[in-house]
Amino acid sequence: MSGERRSGVGVSPGTAAGPVVQVAPPVKAPADEPAPADAEAAAESVRGALSAVGEDLDARAAAADEHAQPILKATAMIARDKGLAKAAAKQVAAGKGPATAIAAAVDEFAAQFEALGGYFAERVTDLRDVGSRAIAHVLGVPTPGVPELSGPSVIVALDLAPAETAALDRSHVVAIVTEHGGRTSHTAILAAQMGIPAVVQLPDATGIPAGTTVAVDGDAGHVVLDPDTRLLEIQRARREKLAAALDELHGPGRTADGHAVALLANIGGVDDAVAAGAADLEGVGLFRTEFMYLSAATLPSVEDQADVYRQVLAPFPGRRVVIRTLDAGADKPLAFADLGEEENPALGRRGLRLCQARPELLDSQLEAIALAAKDTGAEVKVMAPMVATTDEAEWFATRVRAAGLPSAGVMIEVPAAALRAHHVLSHVDFGSLGTNDLAQYTMAADRGEGELASLLDPWQPAVLQVIEAACKGGHSSDRPVGVCGESAGDPFLALVLTGLGVASLSMAPSKVPAVRFALSRHTLAECRSLASAALDAPTAERARQLVKAGAKNEVTDLL
């Protein structure tokens, strides 16, 4: 069916084409697997499957880069584990079929690891991956996970889990397409990091035969099957023109009439910091600090924390780095500060609420940041997640100042804080809109629920109106308000946000050049009129259309 075009949701911009590589989904044991007629043959089949999985993983480890190698080696070790083989053999002896036996053995260990929590619970993913591969071997179906890539490929999956992408050979992936997933899914974040186009929510994506050439348009959200050479040529020419336009521009973000909008990076660790430090941007607008706490069994010492902060701050002498304090909660539990299960973690004791219950965590983090700030020349600011009230903002600012840090801010991700921004911000030095959570809380739609992608669209006029309220509060209290959600990286939405009055835009570094380009072609007055058009639109789709229609052609033609 040459030229068939399907539409999904574009979550990472750009265009690319290549052959489809399907990521096979995890395999489950069939519920009706019969008891084995020959117990010895069944036991042999289990042993054979586990050892084949071990060999396959070892072979892949040998060919993998240094990042993926330890993960694959450790997974291979699990496949060859005597304990796992014994547990499965016991199940076979009890009359279970080979696939069911493997699944039961895996469940047995998974339950033990989950009970241990923290670090140990993370290994459950690897264990289940081994089980799924062994079951696939027993059943004679394709091995789940990402197959080995031999050249440029478009990765297609039902959805991508973090574990599946760890072993992904990034040098060969030109685009990612998923059938499920949302705007803030792992796929979207990964593709943005890699700077490659991605489309999620594509109907029947997993039904596209492997090897089919597809053209992916991550801006429009289209995927064309077996594209003709004309389309590929158009996309190629557009990529080249865009690259040329982006290459011409450098330095701080400016509108066509010189209004400054700082262009910043969202980072989540030391590697990101080093990469962003080398990029043409004005600093870091969001440093997520969770990575160093979520994997720790106990609260790391102040000196250990400070060491990591020094490494993150080092690449930014003279530039700003906004550090978000610990954003943990029931969905991202800390081994050393678990407040217990919650029915509704997104609305529970997370972010600053957790830190208010355990202030020693925040104090130790602030102390470490202050130590690191002294040793590096970066302009350090800290901000609290999940602030809803003036009292919370004041509580946080007091502790930040007590730690000797010069600048305290709050995330504006709860509509209450946006509506009351004038008062909330009067206690702090700045605000930063976390548009992913702001959309979730404004639209009452779970961020993790792919089916609700359209409600979580940051173009939703209600979300824009809440952003406008926050910007007005920032203006009247004379405090700058920035944006650090993924929406800041959408060049057209960046124009709207600028028109609404935001002072900075923080995004995946790969998105900065396109945003810089869009800003440079519009005046502040033009941004304001695009913003009011978007606010007046009845729907998200219409808001997007109106802004694209109102933006300069040289920008819409290329982005």
């Binding site: 584990d81 140990f120 720790a296």
Partner: protein, 90 residues
């Protein structure tokens, strides 16, 4: 049966890389080696899942037993390994 006590030196506990290194070393002895908390049922030290499921944390005491030729020397090596912070070493 030769028996030795060790204290987990790895800051992350006997888990991930430290667990893998320990299990590889235990497998390398070619002996039946067991590890457990004092007074509790031990697990097979050559099983990565068994060792990880033990969930031994940093600073915890564990008891190692081994049987066969060279068991004493093998245990001494394993105790030394456990006492170090394997996660910090590259």
């Amino acid at each position: 049966m030769p028996q030795r006590t060790a204290t987990i030196g790895s800051s992350v506990g006997l888990h991930a890389r430290p667990a893998a290194l320990f299990v590889e070393a235990a497998q390398g002895t070619g002996l039946d080696v067991e590890i457990g908390r004092p007074g509790e049922d031990p697990v097979d030290a050559t099983s990565i899942l068994g060792v990880m499921a033990l969930g031994a944390k940093h600073g915890e005491e564990v008891v190692l037993t081994a049987e066969g030729d060279g068991a004493d020397a093998a245990l001494a090596g394993l105790v030394d390994l456990l006492n170090r912070d394997l996660d910090a070493e590259e």
